[in-house]
Assembly symmetry: C2
Homo-oligomer: 706 residues x 2
Amino acid sequence: MEITKLIRPASIAVVGATERPKTFGCTASLQALKSSVKDRVYLVNPTRDELHGQKVYKDLADLPEIPDCVVVATPRDTILPILEQAARLGAGSAVVYASGFSEEHSEEGDALEARMVEVSKEYSFPILGPNCAGLLNNEDNISLWGLGTDFDMNTRVGGVAVVAQSGYIAQNLINTDYFNISYAVSTGNGNATMLEDFLKYVVDDDRVSVVAVYLEGLKDASKFADALGAAARKKKPVVILKSGKSSKGAKAAASHTGNLAGSSAAYEAAFKKFGAISVDSIEEFISTSQMFSVLKGNFLKPATFAGLNLSGGENTLCADLSEKHGVSLPDFAPETITEIEKYIPAFATASNPLDGTTALFSKLENIVSVIRAAESDPAIGGIIFGANIGEKVTGGPPKTIVDAVLAAIESGCSKPVFLVGSQESSKDQEIRRVVEAAGVPLTSCGETGYTSLGKLTEFMNFDPDSSSLRLAAPDAPLPEGSVALSESESKREMAVYGLPVPTQVVVKDTDELAEVAAKMNFPLVLKIDSPDILHKTDAGGVKLGINSAEEAGVAYGEILASCKAYAPDARVNGILVQEMAPKATEIIIGVSNDAQFGPMLLAGLGGVFVEVFKDVSLCPCPVTKAEAIGMLKNLKAYKLLAGYRGSAPADIDALADLMVAVSDYAAEHRNELKELDLNPVFVYDEGKGVKVVDALVVKAGIGGKE
Amino acid sequence: MEITKLIRPASIAVVGATERPKTFGCTASLQALKSSVKDRVYLVNPTRDELHGQKVYKDLADLPEIPDCVVVATPRDTILPILEQAARLGAGSAVVYASGFSEEHSEEGDALEARMVEVSKEYSFPILGPNCAGLLNNEDNISLWGLGTDFDMNTRVGGVAVVAQSGYIAQNLINTDYFNISYAVSTGNGNATMLEDFLKYVVDDDRVSVVAVYLEGLKDASKFADALGAAARKKKPVVILKSGKSSKGAKAAASHTGNLAGSSAAYEAAFKKFGAISVDSIEEFISTSQMFSVLKGNFLKPATFAGLNLSGGENTLCADLSEKHGVSLPDFAPETITEIEKYIPAFATASNPLDGTTALFSKLENIVSVIRAAESDPAIGGIIFGANIGEKVTGGPPKTIVDAVLAAIESGCSKPVFLVGSQESSKDQEIRRVVEAAGVPLTSCGETGYTSLGKLTEFMNFDPDSSSLRLAAPDAPLPEGSVALSESESKREMAVYGLPVPTQVVVKDTDELAEVAAKMNFPLVLKIDSPDILHKTDAGGVKLGINSAEEAGVAYGEILASCKAYAPDARVNGILVQEMAPKATEIIIGVSNDAQFGPMLLAGLGGVFVEVFKDVSLCPCPVTKAEAIGMLKNLKAYKLLAGYRGSAPADIDALADLMVAVSDYAAEHRNELKELDLNPVFVYDEGKGVKVVDALVVKAGIGGKE
């Protein structure tokens, strides 16, 4: 749905306008009248003639023009007729602040919200809310904000677009001067017009340098993926604070905006696929968004840093925090060391990070020289300063550092410089404003600052060309129920997609068995083939290492007897006979079809590694080969694949090809596949390939059991 | 060494007093003259008669009394004669600020510092420094601080004792009003009087409610352990920021104060053993210290919280951050729910954490009632408020919350209440002062705040009675070189300590073998027994599963031939014959003798769990049985021991007994044992015991090879 008239209306009607302080009707009127389109703002109230010094209209139908946006600031039960009227009149959009809709989980609330969504669809009429704080467009000076704020639309322009599923958090971000603001949208219940719609809009807007999303849950993962994909291709950072990660948090989110939090692992995997930046707390959210908004695309190349510090203690902490948060501090080149040594005392060491000592930091021109020396080192992408900038400190006052950084930039330093502050430094808004104007982010809190630098490093290292940048979400919810394919059927489906499965035949009697066994290479494996027996080993349905036709005959009888006892009513296709694959490293490749993101590919080393250590990688399908290799490298157990303690490396290439084939299968079958489990896949030494030793495909629908 | 005269001198001489600003000689004079003992402060300078309005003495020998503390504020090369003179005169202590000693790694600097340590020892003369910022005793109003500060000794009394191996960090902590200060000591190189000495002093002082240690490396782990043990017994929190955890950080620390960072894992294990609180950054250090200083021992029982929040978004984040940081939010009792429901809107849910909604938070008396309801719940130990307290927020102003908390305390709420602030709230010193006076910690930053609450939880859950609260550090550095015992010798040593080892005999020829084998239960294992062949399998020195005397004879010959080829010069004791233990869960128990902390016990599941996943627990010896069980529970692989997927639980009790026996052995042999490796120990089902299948003891000294 086109939402420009909601985000950038040329005319606004406020229905339910009042002068009663601290009400939506009063605040929304005042905000609209502060907007750049104030001459085309119309207040509506049937019982008043004048409010806020403005003429008041009795009814929407009386306005001199059809408004682009109708702000509905009336109580819940009056809202639907107003929306219907507005839509019928041809108004362009609406905002609804009131709560009492689907977030209440009441029959009445649900019905009202369902009708609202219908109106929106029927008339292609975008509606922000209900249960929201409104929208602030600081790029075009338009406020549809419904809560008290003294935000001044002529300031803090050009920066972060905040899209939040919490009015409280959005309100906090605009009311405190953390960073410049392009947009702030509180999306409320977000069923008519979704968070995903606003996200796409601000990603597309080139005036926005970073998008900050507070997310409890998604409505439409495909729309979300479109927006994140567009951002990835533009290299525009999207910082996401996903809450509801814990079980109590998920419950809290559900009762807040009615969002199901979904699997936290699936969300994280989806963010990673699109190079979106996932943070854990409001502090990281603010610090990282602010950093990107100041950098404005002046990203580092390479994604490495020189750490310059004022004292030994600070320098040691800089090294520790950098390692902890994945911030790379490469060694300086010999020429850099020689150059830096000119400016530091003889007892100091010109290493990275650098303890410049107070001797260095008391001379501005020397600091500038050290910055320029570090900058000219090709191994260095950017420069981090200290952890206590802005403090009352011993020796060289921090003003020297600030002045030196500005002087270095003045003198032509083009690699980005970062001032990592302590808890206190963020208080000094004066310093912040000066350095930010020069493109220097001043992050608050050492630990938070280094976390943000780590996120920047990850963002820089993300290659959008390595990812498919799309999802294979089902077109509609999958049917109820599930139908399991037998092992042989499952493997046949896999074989069609080019997966290497062992030679296999299902036999119905011992004559067939003898005939088949005669043509195969021993040792063989015999297994029960039944869609109703999924735990074959538990049922006594598997015999390994069969070395002769005689042994095969005995095994045949034992399997049937044992399975009969285990599951008397199971449908049995026969006995699956296959050549036994030689032992190798065992990998589990799986797919589960996430209700939101569609099929998620899973990879892990077999057995306890997956079950006890939870050492698995997830990625939404479709996955590219680069993504598949990335998934394997993210496993702790990757060492075992890469050649552990002198053993030969495994055939990672063939395994990645198999993963891509599985992903293609899953993406094509996204509207029917529920689960897929290749457990184990045998991975042989490099160049020797892989083999799918067992397979289970479960499709949606009615028919299976166990 | 007794250091009271250094920390609490009744008289002070400042040698090298001057009026030249920003020099140690000037600052130290002014600081001393601000002290409570200002009438007994003597300035010494051979070239001046009066300074700072005071009479100046030409020489230490001229003073009207022998001073308790001599502050030496002169250049490096003049210092030793002054210290010698002071010590000879019978002065009680000294402070040396100058740098240029052992931290420079120069021959001259090392020699000067060695002499300083000699003087200190010879005269029992405590010396703070060199390369330090001095000492501030805010309990007795005495300042020996050498750097510029406007710290006012009449304020911020009663609180944190800062003991720091960085003058810069100590300076920052006193110059910024993070928390009240009892003491601040910058320990500099700390070879004469050590950080460990100051630590013990402040632990013993009951006016100190929390000790905050910035640590780069230890000089004397036993002294450190004594101090931490005393703190644990008193339940006095010691918060430690150990830097140099990363490899670059360790290098940085070494060039800062000459400290070897040591193994970060060993430090963490030692902190844990004593219940000391280890933090990762300055922010956590400040936030956690401040929290404890405000609580002043009003610890929670149980260590659980009710989370009360102002908005849905905040509430969701509260749940997530609590889970992430180990902060427990138990469900409310039914009566608590009934009570809380009286004060929240019908659509809100009375769960923990609680989204009180703005409706609750606009009525002070209702907030008070909810606090009291939560407090009366026996499952709740304390109350956390929000994550944005102190912000400009929608609806109920935060002042309402502050007032409500104060009113609740006034009305008798005795369980501790915590205000977890956002980035901004720490700026409001006014609110902080009011709530802190009522015993309510206001932590800065949500994430940092929840980290501190997690540390508090850990501290509360630490039981000093479960730990041995001591170390078994070697009395002197171990001799160079190492001597390995053969497997049979190693096992014999273990058997003496009660460890269950398989029946074993070393045979010298095949006749002996036949005789021995006849008396044993097959299957048997034969292994080469040689102190020179440690990798027996590589040498072809192991034969398993021998089922008859004949097989044993063949194996005997093969082992000898193979080992001869592998290591022609190896000394061979014979062939070790033992009954083969039935398979079981394989555990590795090891000891390595840390240069600082002495023997460290290690436990982990055999094979890749230790080597690839690094899933190991460490604890300094001696360990109690409770500590041994705690080590096992800390393993990710513990699930495999506890009974995984319906398998029987392993004999954890017997394994813990074995660990205690190994620890006792290691503690007794701390002056000779280098390493001990029981790999594997077979752990049988509950009640079935354990068996040491292989053992290797390596002692210090000359003699071994390979």
